[in-house]
Amino acid sequence: MSAQDTPLPPSYLVDTGSRKGLLAWLTSTDHKRIGLLYLASMLTFFFVAVGIGLVMRLVQLTAFSHLITAETYNALFTVHGVIMVFLFVVPGLPAVFGNFFLPILIGAKDVAFPRLNLASWYFYMAGATVVITALFTGHGAPDTGWTFYVPFSLHTGTNVSLAVFGAFLLGFSSMLTGINFITTIHRLRAPGMHWFRMPLFCWATYSTAWIQLLATPILAITLVLVILERVFGIGIFDPTKGGDPLLYEHLFWIYSHPAVYIMILPAMGAITEILPTFAQRPIFGYKAIAFSSMAIAGVGSLVWAHHMFTSGLSQFAVMTFSLLTMIVAVPSAIKVFNWVSTLYKGSIDFQPPLLFALTFIFLFCIGGLTGVMLGALAVNVHVHDTYFVVGHFHYVMFGGTGMAFFAALLYWFPKMFGKMYSKKAIYASWFPIFIGFNMLYFTMLVLGVMGMPRRYFHHLPRFDTGHDIATVGSWILVLGLVMFFGALVHALFKGEKAEDNPWGGVTLEWTIPSPPPQENFQEIPTITTEAYHFPQEEIG
């Protein structure tokens, strides 16, 4: 069988099995299809939570504050947080782009356990369904905030148990994905794909998978304890029975702080793929980036109590955790340094993915630096539980992970769907996204320093101006999001056919057709070069 005559296998988007249409998708173990299942479900939840956020901002305008009650507001910020954190940002990049591209980037035909992979998606959907059911059944949607702090979460009459069980299922999905990715990277690298020849997105996914594995079970057991406490009254967190609410805070943050790195590490990995392609240069400091991912995973697991500086820990504990928090900023800064150095003297091709990648770096720096401020004890006590925390968190999670998600989507969209979007429409959407984002969240930072507490339905008149600016910002931001996704949906149906390698990338996904064929590679490639080996580098 000569190579020339071999017809290309059909694209993964074509049904070739006995099942057709939706059923073929819902039973597929192809990692690419599972990636798209996640993408579709995740973006749906994302827009639901964006809508909720929009309402939360709207009622902060004094003229509209009568639209909902304070209790509804409590439910809204809880639901917004739970959906965004557990349904979008935590699974975000690993489940979509990790699933789709991790096997391709290491030259494999699929993940190590394809059926487990599909099962993870079903766990995800089951968790999502339970969480959403919790909103409409029982005695109202949970009103605890996404952190489910005891003792309030033990005594509130709202539907906390069900929501917490949903989060438990989502954690299970996340853990199984982690197991799958670690095994995939250990076992399925193509011949010659040494550890230090892997694209850095794989390193980021690998570090993330370890956090998913080591941190998520702690959340799982903590949530189980909340349910047992509510149903049977076991008393471990209940002070009236000798339990300790502070223990809950510790256990919750032992997971939930590392979870922040589950959210950001794959985002950093995606940015690390995008920059070399559009600078046509190998990444600066490959090993520094690879090891900083592992360092973030390691140190990031030891900083959880910086969420609890005002909870009454010992002076020694708060100082230790403050110091560790400062230290975890170092590997993140190493990455930023390497990204910027990669651009230096590169032949920069300013395409939409690069625009969003640079936006990521800018917004992430603000998020990171405000994080260092929060890690400092004196500042933390002043701005604890204010809008400053909300602003910081959104700069990191939305400005960081969200923008990286958009950048990765723009970068890989032509490969995933074989269609190219209108670049002009994307550029146009960037302006409202960027302007709206900063109006909304930078104002929150300022409001926080002024003393506006988070999660309050009513605010003092002196915060009116700030809230007005933030609310208008939220409208501009949503307008940008609609334009952005409008352009992508349009491209999906009416876009031009994309080339196999529209950006001049050199990693393995650009060597195969767009959209990729089933099983990705006709023949497993043999790797002979480093990950970012651009041809002109040889000449220079």
Binding site: P114, T216, L247
Partner: protein, 205 residues
Amino acid sequence: MSEPNHAHADHRDDFGARLGMWLFLVTEMVLFGGLFIAYSYMRSTYPADFHHAGTELNATLGVTNTLVLLTSSLTVALSIVAIQRGDRLKSMAFLSASLALGVTFLVIKATEWATKFHHGLYPNAPHLATLPHGEQVFFGLYFTMTGLHGLHVIIGLGVLSYMLVQVARGRICQDRYVQLENAGLYWHLVDVIWIFLLPLFYLAA
């Protein structure tokens, strides 16, 4: 019956399967790890109460159950050895022994729980509420940890029963037994966790 267009159907990776199982066991250990953290914190807060509450537990039954579970682990290991030697019937016999021992464990556990309920030593019981805080927490942890462990035993029994069927059908055989090995690993984990629970509760007095 063949699996339709499955990329890896004929690419077996036993090492990968075992690696995946070990990673899963890590998550199980961390799951219980959270409870061990809670236990050690509470015990350091209420050392005297824990000591006193521990006297309520029947150490003889606890040690008996340990022996039952350890023996069941041995028989699982023996069933793997048997299948490696191609002795299907012996493998099935050892697996059945493990199942019987697992059920025995649960029966003993159930009688213990029943005694505690009878004495009013369960969460939200009026009698327990009159006891010192530390004892309330002790029994909260006791029921949570042995309950979660019991749940794992039940799941393990389900897995082992499935293995028995697979061996009987010849799906697990002399040169294809990684499933059984993984099931065995899970059962050993359930065993190991119990070995920690025994001193923490039954020998706390």
